[in-house]
Symmetry: C2
Subunit: 110 residues, 2 copies
DNA sequence: ATAATATATGAATGGCTAATCATATTTATA
DNA sequence: TATAAATATGATTAGCCATTCATATATTAT
């Protein structure tokens, strides 16, 4: 397994904001501000994330008037789809992980 | 989409060491020290990761003599498998992301 | 050409957490 | 039961990076 590939893949997709952007783009193409609304964060932050997702080959851009419209790449669709499907299916099991939610935190925070 | 579910899922699976552990367990069940060898990190670190993966429902344990043998849960198999498959297939595109590899770093580090 | 809208970029910071070191616990064997 | 082997747990630290604020650039309309 290629370490750089694995790390880069997860770097790009595993941030909640970035994954939410991809999930939002599963539905339809969106402008930056539409994404900011959908994901409930600042425009500036969305732009930073989009630059990453663009570089990582997850999305495409086109211009429409004064807006830049982002779309999910076809190759990214199955990944995002399958992950969403899995999380929906195993949500309760996943949530039951108290390390990610409490233990680790409390171990660190004390 | 459930925010906690998404975050927890990625928290658990997106760390390189933890994902490597899951990948190693795709092949065969392993003891803690065998995992440490396979993943090339310290035993203590592996134990920390295993505690997380166990809590998150990715792996099971059983005792054999003085060793604890970890195995990949059946439900986790398709996820790990599909992600490995994807990374192998799109490795070059993913690696081409210069944000994850250089730009972001240089932006931050200056 | 100027103003307004949309988006991108730069710099700084604080929180999160993987790795490490040290130590405790558990099990097996002599 | 004392020792060794295997694993787990605790505490600390240093680095990564998402977010924020401030500002720059680009496009359209007046």
């Amino acid at each position: 397994m290629d370490k750089l590939g694995v790390k880069t893949f997860f770097f790009a997709i595993s941030d909640y904001s970035r994954f939410s952007i991809l999930a939002a783009l599963m539905e339809k193409d969106l402008s930056v501000n539409e994404i900011a609304d959908a994901v409930e964060t600042e425009q500036s932050n969305v732009s930073h994330h989009l630059a990453c997702l663009l570089n990582c080959g997850f999305v495409d851009v086109r211009r429409e008037g004064k807006m830049r419209i982002y779309s999910l790449k076809d190759e990214a669709r199955p990944i995002v789809g399958s992950i969403i499907k899995h999380i929906q299916k195993y949500n309760s099991e996943i949530i039951a992980c108290d390390i990610a939610n409490k233990e680790y935190i409390s171990r660190v925070i004390k």
